[in-house]
């Protein structure tokens, strides 16, 4: 048992196929494989799969988590259409995604390109760029709130120093709260995606650059025609993760603005929490979750299709 490895069944079997002992071997290997998966799968099934599947049922009921659920049909979804909070949260989520996805993508790619060369202390800079990602989100929110303080914060002091008379109110202004959250989230996430891009960059064969140089391509043309196409699998993965992460943003918003001022940074996942956990309307809250699910699924499928077209 202890020496057995979880190699894919049968691939390395020395015995000819179809014998009795081979079949036993296959079965044993499969079981071992499953047993390695089991702890993770059990946790996933109990804590994630069951609630997720349950959401699909609960969304069509009215349920306070205590009494018997009452079947409502499509009432919850009808209510969504006229719910002002839902519309606001949906628009804010799209706003956040539209800001967070492209900016993080561009910044992390830029960082990766910058730190993918041989330069003194490159490891230090890579670590520094990754640092925000492993910092506690609460600390991040507190510090950025201080930086964004409208009257005494360094950000506005800098802007005033640069000659801007009326610097934005950031988290205390309904117009600027979302940009402030986006800036903070880009700063936090860039290091992680930079690491992914760095890994992608290392796999680009140097011969391609050499060949491009021989053909007289300048730096921009080399980036455009060699780096970007070679990075496509990485970019696709990063884009997917960023999309999913953006649509379900919760923690940063809750600790930084808690949806305020007013409802200017209220997002869908926060509304789900508020309706379900705080107000005990699990049916309605599940209906919003379903909408979020469909939204993320839809955007992911679009991206997946586009990626396949480009690869073909």
């Amino acid at each position: 048992m202890a020496t057995a490895t979880a190699t894919p069944a049968g691939t390395r079997s020395k015995k000819p196929a179809g014998t009795y002992s081979n079949k036993r071997q296959v079965r044993r290997n499969t079981l071992i494989g499953w047993s390695f998966l089991l702890p993770n799968f059990l946790g996933f099934a109990l804590l994630t799969l069951v609630p997720v599947v349950a959401t699909f049922g609960i969304a069509f009921t009215e349920w306070d988590s205590y009494s018997t659920p009452e079947f409502l049909g499509l009432d919850n979804f009808e209510r969504l259409l006229t719910d002002n909070n839902f519309r606001t949260a949906l628009l804010n989520t799209l706003y956040y995604a539209a800001g967070h996805i492209p900016i993080t993508l561009a910044v992390s790619l830029g960082l990766a390109l910058l730190l993918n060369r041989k330069l003194r202390g490159v490891n230090f800079f890579r670590t520094a760029a990754f640092f925000p990602y492993i910092t506690s989100i609460v600390a991040v929110a507190v510090v950025w709130n201080m930086l964004f303080n409208p009257s005494q914060g360094p950000v506005n002091q800098l802007l005033t120093g640069l000659g801007i008379d009326n610097p934005p109110g950031w988290t205390s202004s309904p117009q600027w709260a979302m940009p402030a959250v986006i800036i903070t989230s880009v700063w936090r996430d860039m290091g992680y995606y930079m690491i992914l891009f760095l890994a992608g960059l290392q796999t680009v064969p140097p011969e391609l650059y050499e060949a491009a140089k021989m053909d007289g391509a300048n730096a921009w043309q080399r980036f455009r025609n060699v780096t970007l196409p070679s990075l496509r699998p990485t970019t696709f993965f990063v884009l997917m993760m960023l999309t999913i992460g953006s649509f379900k943003v919760f923690d940063l918003i809750v600790v930084m603005t808690d949806g305020g001022p007013g409802r200017s940074t209220l997002v869908l996942s926060q509304l789900i929490y508020r309706e379900g956990i705080v107000n005990g309307r699990f049916g309605y809250s599940s209906a919003i979750s379903l909408v979020l699910f469909v939204l993320v699924l839809g955007v992911s499928i679009l991206q997946y299709r586009r990626n396949q077209k480009l690869e073909a």
Partner: protein, 431 residues
């Protein structure tokens, strides 16, 4: 082969579920290691809320066969955590009702035991009991009743040569706050922390404006018509615009606490709930602060009135309690004179009021002894902070959001109030 494995998995998973399910419900009342009956009580932030331990110690002394085991919960997450616990069939015996809105929710879901009998035999002078009336039935008894008053820093008043007024109108209060701010700056008084001495500090909670307005004008916070907030907003904004309090935006984004503002002497006045008395006594006893403080009645709309607001805190018995009888006995004890004495002994305001208890309260080490403070401790009328109905939490959310917009200056006052009216009527009342 594969199918069988999946079947095996399914069986294992079901088994795990069953085991998890079984470990949940045990009917027997628990016994502590030393043979005493264990009584579990849900509490928040037990270190910072000294009346819990005061009550538990006193009760255990009177009932040697009971061992109280507090279930400590983070104060900010308390309602959500208790909701989740109850939904999961938790068996904690006594549940502390932090606010009336959550109480109404638990009671209407049938998660609390009916203790109407205990309420009917409750002692005279138990304030705040009415808030727990659910169509003639009671599911909790208050042990504590807080109300809002005006705290002032006697030291700063003396330094500036000012008298502490026993009674103020909101207009006089606003003028006084501005006067203190100016004179403190002119006299060059600087606090230990922070940049300057403010005349007052307005905590960002909407209650400061909304609940005060409702209590003092008779307005209804669930009505969907909020014109009665207007004069109160005008006073609050006037103080803020004059720089006589830390502005809302800064206080909100920097998560400034009223406790810091007052104990580091950055604010000469502070409208706040009576729970702050206990915290002040505690921090003074621990040597963390040496503010010389007192309380006065909350400012009024016009002179001669005496109305403030507050909310009771109560104990209830869980429907799934393991030791239901002991739990009911504790709830009754806490609402009675012995419980009230324990609560008062740490500077918290008990729901049961009597001369004896007030005297014991002011005999505490560190309590101010002036007549103004003593008068403030017996408010004329205490209105409930927020009325209870099925709409309370939705309306609360809307009013909070619009309050934020008005106080940060994002929306002009009249527009903000119009928006409150419109949203509460469209999104809640007409639904």
């Amino acid at each position: 082969m594969r199918r069988r494995t999946i079947k095996g998995l399914a069986v294992t998973a079901t088994g795990a579920l069953l085991i998890a399910g079984c470990s949940g419900g045990e009917g027997e009342s628990a016994t502590a290691a030393d043979g005493r009956t264990a009584l579990t009580v849900s509490v928040w932030n037990i270190e910072g809320t000294p009346e819990f331990n005061a009550e538990f110690d006193a009760y255990e002394e009177a009932n040697p066969d009971i061992d109280i085991q507090p279930v400590d919960i983070l104060a900010d997450d308390y309602p959500e955590k208790v909701t989740a616990m109850l939904a999961g069939g938790d068996t904690t015996d006594v549940l502390t009702m932090k606010n009336v809105v959550d109480y109404a929710r638990y009671a209407s879901r049938g998660q609390l035991q009916d203790i109407t009998e205990l309420a009917e035999s409750a002692p005279e002078g138990l304030e705040g009991l009415d808030a727990f009336d659910q169509d003639g039935k009671y599911f909790a008894l208050p042990y504590r009743q807080d109300f809002w008053a005006l705290y002032y820093n006697k030291g700063l008043f003396e330094e500036l040569g000012l008298e502490v007024p026993a009674e103020l109108t909101w207009e006089e209060y606003a003028d006084l706050a501005k006067q203190i701010t100016e004179e403190a700056a002119a006299a060059g008084i600087t606090p230990a922390e922070g940049e300057k001495v403010y005349g007052t500090y307005h905590q960002i909670w909407r209650s400061l404006v909304h609940a005060t307005a409702a209590a003092q004008t008779g307005g209804d916070q669930l009505s969907g018509e909020y014109e009665f907030f207007e004069p109160y907003y005008e006073w609050a904004l006037d103080v803020q615009d004059a720089g006589a309090t830390l502005d809302f935006a800064t206080a909100n984004s920097q998560q400034v606490t009223y406790r810091t503002m007052f104990t580091t002497e950055q604010a000469a006045m502070l409208p706040m709930g009576s729970w702050f008395i206990g915290a002040l006594l505690q921090s003074k006893a621990a040597g963390e602060s040496d503010v010389d403080w007192g309380i006065a009645k909350l400012p009024q709309a016009s002179a001669g009135e005496d109305v403030t607001f507050g909310s009771p805190t109560a104990f209830a018995v869980n429907k799934n309690a393991r030791s239901a009888d002991a739990a009911a006995d504790f709830v009754e004890w806490a609402a009675g004179p012995e419980g009230a004495k324990a609560v008062a002994s740490v500077g918290a305001t008990p729901a049961l009021q009597s001369e004896e208890i007030t005297e014991a309260f002011f005999a505490l080490d560190g309590m101010p002894q002036d007549e103004t403070s003593k008068a403030a401790f017996e408010p004329g009328e205490v209105a409930l902070e927020m009325p209870v109905s099925e709409h309370t939490s939705d309306i609360d959310q809307i009013l909070m959001e619009e309050h934020e917009l008005i106080m940060t200056g994002s929306v002009p006052l009249e527009e903000g109030i119009a928006e409150m009216n419109r949203r509460v009527q469209d999104e809640v009342l007409s639904r």
